[in-house]
């Protein structure tokens, strides 16, 4: 027994030593990817990583890396478990093969939360596009958290803006009944403060109906909807509960074209199993579906047709979750590019990574160059604003594919910003953080 313990420790030491001394000469930027191709959420994970990896591969093989620096991306399976993501983080935070890590994709809100303080202490940016902790948009309090692109509050606001455009203006919102059917979890409830705020502002009635995980039986909820007769329903569910939600809505005669799903309730795997019931269903799309964007043409030519894609089944090329992967990868690549401009073309560490993300700007021109027009919104991230976008398009399911209904709809940032700052300030107080003053950062 004793011998075993000692032997294990010694073996472990040897193992550690070998991994640490592996020093490669060529310059690569190490990017660890905690993934979930297995388990309850694998159906989105599988496509997600196909997209991310395909784009990184494209950068490496077609563009020769970023300014000559190749990307060394490595996958770690977590089954979407925050604990295992923490473990992966601990494993990789020191970097690999001589490269530090410039940022850490958490690939899930719970994992972001679990790592928030650790990463701040380690000075490693946590990247969680369209997720994360909403108030961490305020980079003064959360220098190392990046809920890029589309926060939960922006989701609420964009949705309301879309409804306003459908009913003919914000003043028409008054008196409307807008129900939110949400997955009863932190994710599901994350928009509540924003919706409440907007309900007050516009005078609509805010109805919140929870669905317990996993949500495979929702008759009571939709019977309530049937009774309350709301004008619009936000569907803020996740996984099975979306499919069942859409189907149950149809069963209770609630029209699909008055249901708006949120980001994580708007992929093919959410609507295909729902069959005909999903026709007309719309969803917020910071990551629109479709394979007709410029980048898809490039990928098809260089990656898919060359047989290098990670996609098991090519029919998912251009699927929403695949595009999520593309967009996230592109954000990372563009941030690194920004950083290399300042620090030189070499692997960045966490602090440099933060600088890079805080100065990431992707305008229309750049979008055109990288082939993401229409797929990715223009983005400008600053130390004050770690979201940088906050817009989404609306897409509707026609039974076969997602059809884009609108261009980018912006969230009402002016209304939301005070709420965010207030919560960030509360966090700062609770954790004894003195907010940075961005002016001190003169770059």
């Amino acid at each position: 027994m004793r011998k075993l313990i000692i032997a294990t420790l010694l073996a472990g030491g040897a193992f550690m030593a070998t991994t640490a001394t592996l020093n490669a000469a060529d310059v690569t930027q190490y990017i660890p990817l905690p993934t979930y191709r297995v388990g309850a959420y694998a159906s989105s994970g599988e496509l997600w990583w196909a997209g991310e990896r395909d784009y990184f591969r494209y950068i490496n093989e077609v563009e020769g890396g970023i300014d000559g620096v190749k990307l060394n991306y490595e996958e770690f399976e977590t089954e979407w478990s925050p604990d295992r993501t923490v473990e992966v983080y601990e494993r990789v935070k020191a970097g690999k093969d001589g490269s530090p890590i410039a940022f850490f994709f958490t690939h899930g809100t719970p994992a972001t939360y679990a790592l928030l303080e650790k990463a701040a202490a380690d000075k490693i940016p946590l990247i969680d596009p369209a997720g994360g902790r909403t108030e961490s948009i305020d980079g003064r309090v959360f220098p190392y958290a990046f809920p890029l692109l589309f926060s939960y509050y922006s989701q609420a606001s964009t949705g309301i803006n879309y409804i306003a455009s459908k009913v003919g203006g914000f003043e028409k919102l008054k008196g409307l009944k807008i129900a939110t059917v949400y997955h009863d979890s932190a994710y599901g409830r994350a928009t509540q403060p924003a919706v409440e705020l907007l309900a007050k502002k516009y005078g609509f009635e805010n109805i919140q109906i929870p669905v317990a995980d996993p949500g495979n039986e929702q008759s009571p909820q939709w019977r309530q909807i049937h009774e309350l007769k709301p004008d619009w329903v936000f569907l803020r569910t996740w996984g099975v509960s979306t499919v069942v939600g859409i189907k149950t809505a149809a069963r209770f005669g609630f029209p699909a074209d008055h249901i708006i799903g949120d980001v994580w309730a708007g992929s093919e795997s959410d609507v295909i199993p729902a069959g005909k019931a999903a026709i007309g269903y719309s969803a917020l799309a910071p990551y629109p579906g479709g394979a007709d964007f410029e980048i898809h043409k490039r990928l098809k030519k260089f990656i898919l047709d060359a047989g290098k894609s990670d996609l098991r089944d090519q029919k998912y090329f251009g699927a929403v979750n695949y595009n999520v992967g593309l967009v996230n990868a592109a954000l990372a690549v563009e941030a690194l590019r920004t950083g290399y401009k300042k620090f030189g073309a070499r692997p960045l560490d966490g602090e440099e990574g933060r600088w890079a993300f805080e100065h990431l700007t992707i305008d229309e021109n750049r979008l055109k160059e990288i082939g993401f027009v229409g797929l990715l919104q223009p983005i400008q991230i600053t130390p004050l604003d770690h979201e940088g976008g906050g817009a989404a398009r609306i897409q509707s399911w026609d039974g076969q594919k997602w059809v884009l209904q609108t261009d980018w709809i912006k969230a009402d940032h002016e209304a939301l910003r005070p709420l965010i700052e207030q919560q960030a300030a509360a966090y700062a107080k609770e954790h004894g953080i003195t907010p940075r003053t961005p002016d001190t950062e003169t770059n």
């Binding site: 000692i6 472990g12 191709r37 770690f76 478990s81 923490v86 601990e90 935070k93 932190a186 954790h431």
Partner: protein, 356 residues
Amino acid sequence: MSEIELRLTGGIGEGVSTRKLTGIAVAALVVSLPFLATEYWINAIIVPFLILSLAGVGLNLLTGYAGQLSLGAGAFMMVGAYATFAFQLRLPELPLPFALIASGIVAGAVGFAFGFPSTRIKGFYLIVSTLAAQFFFEWLFLKFPWFYNGDPSATISLPAGLWAFGIDLNSPHGRYYLTLASVALLTWLSYNLVRSQTGRNWMAIRDMDTAAAVIGVPILRAKLQAFAVSSFILGIAGALWAFGYLGSASVQSFGLTRSYQILFIIIIGGMGTIRGAYLGAAFVSLLPLALDWLFQQLLGGHADAGLLQNIQKVIFGILILWFLIKEPEGLARLLRRQSGNFNTRRFPRLKIRRQT
């Protein structure tokens, strides 16, 4: 410390002095570990291993010793974590160690309540009660903002980090020693308990409850005690898991998979042995790493990570079956057999007593 190690690892038939020496050596190793291992090993492997071991000890008291199958280990860990959060948040003047103990007591009380059906329900009907605890607390701690202080994502993390009596424990070393101290202390207490009359009562109930009742074992009380003590330990393990290891936690950190993981730890390590919990936890935390490493070596990183994960799942299932079929008493027994001690199973105590 050395005494604990001595008992943990003490075999029969070795001389006192060598035993003492090895005991001291192991203790020294354990204490100086932070200076030998990399931060990665401490943060990502050793600390969670210790906490899982503790959780295994806790569940083992209930399932391995008292024979009450529980699928709700995660629930009691969850209660401990959320209680610690509540104490630290609302009673900041209460030092962390006391907050941990108080949380253990809260978890113990909850365990007591959910153990109550065991006085009437037997066998695996009882898993209903523990599963009910699992689902109920997942719901409760998500539902009411009071429990997570209104945090928008319903996550809890200690407002001031880990501090005990003015000492900053937030560093990897600090967390290691906090964990080590709690785990060692609770293991020692568990060890005393399983050798006490209460421990004998538990095992008597496990082995043959009707006979136990007839010879005067207070079945009701002993069962409830088992639930309470087990949950007490699980509660502290949960608090350590949340704040000593993860740094923050949500109900997902203590879901059904966590309950299964703890159960597998004691199946693989050995039901009804304290040492088994450690062996099982070591196995459970090292196997995925070992398999990962093996596949990397074999396939040079070209394998589909998802497929590997599925293979790992299958291997895990096969191992559980293998242990149940071939070695129902787990790794603890397997190792004992290697060292040739057959008959003197769990009770090397008397001899140690006489020697000391």
